[in-house]
């Protein structure tokens, strides 16, 4: 770990200003990912700008029926919030399936979205990694990649975004509110994280110095009967091999609306738009769900050791939809 300077920002404008003027600056919120990576010498910020008091830590209902989540809201508080639990249960379930009590008590909403993708080679500075050192090569493609991406990866990177929370937010069309030197902008959650392409070092579309100030959830009645299913190697404290956030609305024997997002399969939360398309207007049945899953997963390009994820994702999508339909 290398020496760094520390400053606390008391509002978002000050945070953006402090960070923006220094290329080596980074925002510090809960620190549950950044500090780990600093200890590993992967992240080497020269200045940490503490933003835990710079943005809202409140969850507010919006006039249009949506909800605004302050960037500083802790994961544990968000998971326990009565409005979230009632209107967006998959989000609460996703949060509770992630990490541990201790980490959730520290981790923030904005920080959760900003956690780096995972791969053992990214975390080991003695190994090649295009994300850590662009151009050095990808050690995972022909190495240990059992837990890595099957969708949307590139020659340069096969890492996966580990956030559970982001998968539920992707399913619900959440919008990330960002403040930068030039003002504020809104980024749909599904466009917030990037696929690796030729620039795997960029996990998100944020520019240096841009700060997440809030995440907005739209009014979404379908989300009240949503579910998050996380499949992992051990019962707790493990990243998803595959996860599914889903909600479905069946009316008059026909799928009226459906939301599906996948976690653990790509460099970003994977909104399963093709599966959704295949389902809308059709009669809900196991075979239909399987066809829809296949429609999404036919794009999968698994690596030698993670092909099981395709079957696992298919089975998990089908089962989650069946469980949801049974509840209706």
């Amino acid at each position: 770990m290398r020496p760094f300077r520390y400053e606390r920002a008391h509002d978002a404008a000050a945070a953006v200003e402090l960070c923006g003027r220094e290329p080596g600056a980074a925002f510090l919120a809960g620190g549950t990912n950044l500090v780990d990576l600093m200890k590993l010498d992967v992240e080497r910020p020269e200045l940490l700008v503490d933003i835990t008091r710079a943005t809202s830590d409140r969850i507010e209902s919006l006039p249009d029926g949506g909800v605004r989540i302050g960037a500083a809201v802790r994961n544990s508080d968000l998971a326990a919030d009565p409005v979230i639990r009632e209107r967006y249960p998959a989000l609460s379930q996703a949060l509770l399936s992630g990490a541990t009590y201790q980490l959730r008590n520290l981790a923030t909403t904005g920080g959760n979205l900003m956690q780096r993708t995972r791969c053992v080679y990214f975390q080991d500075v003695t190994k090649p990694c295009n994300k850590r050192t662009p151009g050095s090569g990808c050690a995972a493609r022909e190495g240990y990649h059992r837990g890595l991406a099957v969708l949307g990866h590139s020659q340069s990177c096969v890492a996966t975004q580990p956030s559970d929370m982001a998968v539920a937010l992707a399913a619900f069309d959440a919008v990330v509110r960002v403040q930068g030197a030039a003002g504020t902008r809104k980024v749909p959650l599904t466009e917030f994280h990037r696929l690796p392409g030729d620039e795997p070092q960029r996990d998100t579309v944020l520019e240096h110095g841009e700060l997440i100030v809030a995440v907005d959830l739209p009014s979404l009645p379908i989300a009240a009967r949503s579910r998050y299913r996380k499949v992992r190697d051990r019962a707790s404290y493990a990243f998803a091999l595959v996860s599914v956030a889903a909600a479905i609305d069946v009316d008059d024997g026909v799928v009226r609306d459906v939301r599906i997002a996948l976690g653990g399969v790509a460099h970003k939360p994977w909104r399963a738009t093709r599966a959704e398309e295949a389902l809308r207007g059709a009669k809900p049945a196991e075979e239909l769900f399987a066809r829809a899953a296949d429609a999404e997963l036919e794009r999968a390009t698994p690596l030698p050791a993670n092909g099981f994820k395709v079957a696992l994702a298919r089975n998990t999508i089908v089962r989650t939809l069946l469980d949801l339909v049974e509840q209706l």
Binding site: M1, A238, L312
Partner: protein, 683 residues
């Protein structure tokens, strides 16, 4: 003198419990030492080759850096143990080996400086892949690595059923909670004190004295409390010598604590195994021939032959025809070490899985199959067993678990979306004992001081030895003051091989007898050799029953309940014994489903080297574990009649889980761990 009720056997709370929960018990890194400096190691990033340049200029330029050592300026050592020859040459023998060490005024500066040390290498091709097909597999040193009894081919010729399978177990890392740590304090050049986390202070003392050309008495190793070890702290590892070397170089006390990642290359691991088991049986399931052949790995640096995984196969079941062997590959990898039930843990997975496969082939209940093959005497030595409670454990376990009714055929039950199955395995672990010396001193007023360099690595030795002493002296436990974990105390074998309590307790009982006989105020006595060693075969036994539930869609495996019934002689403390057996079974569950150190052969490096990627069972993985023991009177093992309980709990558990997974799914996984991808792939 207080009116003493016997306390041996009672569920006495840990005498060190309050110290531990209040944080007052000091672990190695926590001892306050004036003027201490901090050391951080620099590790090799290649698996084989030579160091051609070490640039320490940036590290030395940092304020607070007191010194940097590497092979060109490190003091010379005298040890013959290649693992302990730290910074003695430019040769790199494995990835993650010490190539330099930085000492600084604070741990932060030391860590920063260590990252600034630049080491250039000339890399040589490395050889790191274990395989049963290697042409260079060697007979490991040591006695009894192979056995051949009766006529295996003839036995197989008369069989009606043959099971011939290969089972593999991966490398696993011990991962105690307390990281390995050492503080070294020199007084002059010939007196060294170490605060160190280990399983036996005398082991460390001897090795460190040897390395620095000192007499044993010139080195004192203090280790009263140890936060887990599981074998990784039994032998001296390089960081201990390195810390002493660093302290001598900067002429200040020095502290070093390994990081979790460094523990994956520097303090050993369980060797992977490739095991071929061939069981032949007649129509009734009686074994007519048994073969078990094991391939292991060791480091090029040194041999280690503790993991004789086929050894238990020589004594578990009856049958006149039996052959076992062990072969090793020497690889450019870190030296393995022992890990809880070394050999037995891996070997029992293979043998007890094969017994399950045989039961299915024969159409015989697996409990019944084991009972039918119960030997009258030890098939290996020909000696009678001092006690053998295996059949009783199987019967009581089956009863407690509700084993019957059960279909022998797999894939029988679906409850909701869970495939439900049950499995059983049997276990054995040697009940040995070793060297130990204890001193007891009457302190007046019916109080006694007991001194012995025993080691409590979380097992409960502080408590159980106090109980043994109290009963032997016929006083209450509050009248006994115990001192352990210090090489200045009378020498005793380390905590390992489930022999600690048997050895140390025997020495305490003998010292008490001597105190009485001589009517003295102080007495010292040895445990001595067990006079029955040549007359009886001595083992603890156990039977493990497991229910698994496998998600029909995702193939996630859950273990809602396990029952273990053990034959461990006299139980000295019902509470700490239960904890040990629970811990062992939890380890077995973890071995079955989770643990695997992943080698990237391109680098010769373990790549999942932290606790997020290397999975050990967490609380949510462990549901109901029902632990029990049978009444077993064994007057031969030691004066307490007690057998060690530290390792028997893990033996067999992994096979019981694997057998239950097969029963639930119809899929036989022969390579641990049983992760869901192996079950999905098999569909």
């Amino acid at each position: 003198m207080s009116t003493a009720q016997p306390v041996v056997g009672a569920p006495v709370d840990r005498v060190d419990g309050p110290l531990k929960v209040t944080g007052a018990a000091r672990y190695a890194y926590e001892h306050p030492v004036r003027d201490v400096a901090y050391a951080v190691g620099v590790l090799s990033t290649i698996a084989k080759g030579r160091i051609v340049a070490v640039d320490v200029s940036a590290a030395r330029a940092l304020d607070g850096v007191l010194g940097v050592l590497w092979h060109e300026n490190a003091p010379r050592l005298q040890t013959d143990d290649a693992e302990l020859q730290v910074l003695q040459s430019d040769a790199v023998a494995f990835c993650g080996q010490f190539v330099a060490v930085v000492v600084a005024a604070t741990p932060q500066i030391a860590r920063h400086a260590a990252a600034l040390v630049e080491v250039r290498y000339v890399q040589e091709p490395h050889d790191v892949v274990l395989s049963a097909d290697r042409s260079d597999l060697d007979v490991p040193p040591g006695e009894d690595v192979d056995s051949d009894d009766g006529d295996v081919e003839a036995g197989r010729a008369q069989a009606s059923v043959i099971v011939d399978r290969t089972y593999t177990t991966p490398a696993e890392h011990n991962n105690p909670i307390e990281a390995h740590a050492t503080i070294a304090i020199w007084e002059g050049v010939d007196r060294l004190t170490l605060y160190d986390s280990n399983q036996g202070s005398h082991n460390i003392r001897d090795d460190v004295a040897d390395a620095f050309g000192l007499e044993g008495e010139q080195v004192r190793v203090i280790s009263p409390y140890v936060g887990g070890a599981f074998g990784s702290k039994l032998f001296t590892h390089a960081h201990v010598v390195l810390t002493a070397m660093a302290a001598r170089a900067v002429q200040r006390p020095v502290k070093l604590e390994l990081t979790r990642r460094q523990m994956f290359s520097l303090v050993g691991y369980r060797t992977p195994t490739i095991q071929r088991v061939n069981l032949a049986a007649d129509d009734d399931g009686r074994l007519t021939a048994i073969e078990h052949h094991v391939v292991l790995q060791v480091s090029m640096l040194k041999d280690l032959t503790e993991d004789l995984a086929a050894r238990p196969t020589r004594m578990m079941y009856a049958g006149p025809n039996r052959r076992t062997s062990h072969r090793v590959a020497r690889l450019d990898l870190p030296p393995p070490t022992i890990m809880r039930a070394p050999g037995e843990a891996q070997g029992s997975f293979a043998l007890e899985s094969a017994m399950d496969e045989l039961a299915i082939e024969c159409g015989i209940d697996p409990v019944e199959l084991r009972i039918r093959n119960e030997p009258g005497t030890d098939p290996d030595s020909g000696l009678p067993f001092s006690s053998r409670g295996l059949v009783e454990c199987l019967k009581q376990g089956a009863e407690r678990f509700g084993w019957q009714p059960r279909d022998v055929a797999p894939h029988g039950r679906l409850e909701g979306r869970w495939l439900v199955g049950t499995g059983v395995a049997a276990s054995a672990y040697p009940a040995g004992r070793g060297q130990a010396t204890a001193t007891i001193r009457a302190a007046g007023g019916g109080r006694y001081h007991v001194q012995i360099d025993a080691s409590d690595i979380g097992t409960g030795a502080w408590t159980v030895l106090t109980q043994i002493a109290a009963d032997a002296l016929e006083v209450g436990i509050d009248d006994v003051t115990l001192e352990i974990g210090d090489s200045a105390l009378p020498r005793a074998r380390a905590a390992g091989g489930s022999q600690g309590t048997a050895s140390w307790g025997t020495a305490i009982v003998h010292a008490t007898r001597k105190l009485r006989e001589e009517n003295a105020s102080e007495a010292t006595a040895d445990a001595g050799d067990n006079p029955y060693t040549d007359q009886y075969a001595m083992y603890a036994h156990g039977a493990q029953f497991v229910e698994v539930r496998v998600d029909a869609d995702t193939r996630e495996v859950r273990v809602p309940r396990m029952v273990g019934v053990f034959a461990v002689g006299r139980v000295l403390n019902a509470k700490t014994t239960r904890s040990q057996l629970l811990g062992g079974m939890t380890w077995g569950l973890s071995m079955a489903l989770l643990e695997e150190s992943v080698l990237d052969a391109r680098y010769g490096d373990c790549v999942n080297d932290d606790l997020a990627e290397y999975h050990v069972a967490v609380n949510a993985d462990v549901a109901e574990i029902d632990v029990g023991w049978i009444d077993e009177d064994d007057p031969y093992v030691n004066p307490m009649g007690a057998k060690g309980v530290g390792e028997i709990g893990i033996v067999g558990t992994a096979a019981a889980v694997a057998n239950a997974v097969h029963h639930a799914t119809g899929v036989r996984v022969r390579d641990l761990p049983i992760t869901l991808d192996k079950l999905l792939r098999a569909d």
